[in-house]
């Protein structure tokens, strides 16, 4: 299925426990990538105040990636909680650049021509200087 937008970069996907310089579990995925720090912060401000910075950092997303339906990308959401120990990491545009934690994966437009995955990401590591932010 096609993305609703033309891809603007790529990513490598790693299972938790796997990391560069090893080969990714899923390599060279064409994605549409955008920042969403404001919405990710707005939707998690209460969690931050009630649970402190650790909980805030657990839930907040900073970016969104649209990936083709069928991509094997996995979150650590367990139903009302997040197990970061089971979440994938996404490196944009490849394993040599910026690292993002997968917060949540959802399928959009199920069964339609523009059936794709929306992946909520939290930026983790950027090798400065960088434009991959």
């Amino acid at each position: 299925m096609a993305l609703p937008f033309a891809s603007n970069t790529t990513c490598d996907i790693y299972r938790h426990g796997n990391a560069p310089p090893a080969n990714p579990d899923v390599a060279g995925v064409k994605i549409y990538f955008k920042e969403e720090y404001t919405k990710g912060s707005e939707a998690n401000e209460g969690a931050a105040s009630s649970g402190g910075t650790a909980l805030q950092s657990q839930w907040k997303w900073t970016h969104i990636a649209f990936m083709p339906q069928g991509t094997d990308v996995r979150d650590g959401y367990t139903g009302g909680n997040i197990s970061q120990a089971n979440a994938d990491f996404v490196w944009v545009p490849n394993k040599n650049q910026s690292k993002y934690l997968v917060i949540f994966v959802e399928r959009v437009n199920r069964g339609q021509a523009t059936d794709y995955l929306r992946v909520y990401l939290q930026r983790v590591i950027v090798p400065w200087p960088s434009n991959e932010v």
């Binding site: 707005e42 939707a43 209460g46 009630s50 094997d72 009302g80 949540f104 399928r107 199920r110 929306r118």
Partner: protein, 127 residues
């Protein structure tokens, strides 16, 4: 594909289980056509102080479907809510957060069900 209300076509199916029942047993309600839509942002935004009760998806299904939530009013405490499995009992589990009826006694009469996705068996596209 089935029509839900007067405007939606189903995009998948689900099996519904009472809280005391679970796969591999037979579901309490089997093969229900639903329109399943993701809503992670909506659930997060409206449950900022308690992400544990946030919904992640919304399902629309026929108004006559026997599906039950565990909402007890006031402070959010779910008591014996149903679980649904998409597309069937071998798929992904979602907990029922709340059931409401939309378009009551109109041509567009259906149930809107707020769901919270549970841990799936990866890899899967039933998300």
């Amino acid at each position: 594909m089935a029509t839900i209300g007067s405007t939606l076509n189903s995009n998948t199916t689900c099996d519904i289980y009472r809280s005391t029942n679970a796969p591999p047993a037979n579901p309490d309600v089997a093969g229900v056509p639903i329109y399943l839509a993701p809503d992670y942002v909506g659930g997060a935004e409206h449950n900022e102080s308690n992400q544990g009760n946030a919904w992640t998806h919304i399902a629309s299904l026929a108004a006559t479907t026997d599906i039950r939530d565990g909402y007890q009013g006031g402070p959010f405490l779910l008591v014996n809510p149903d679980n649904v499995y998409v597309p069937d009992k071998n798929g992904t589990k979602f907990k029922v957060i709340l059931v409401v009826r939309k378009g009551r006694n109109t041509a567009n009469d259906f149930k809107k069900v707020y769901l919270q996705r549970q841990t799936p068996t990866w890899p899967t596209q039933n998300i």
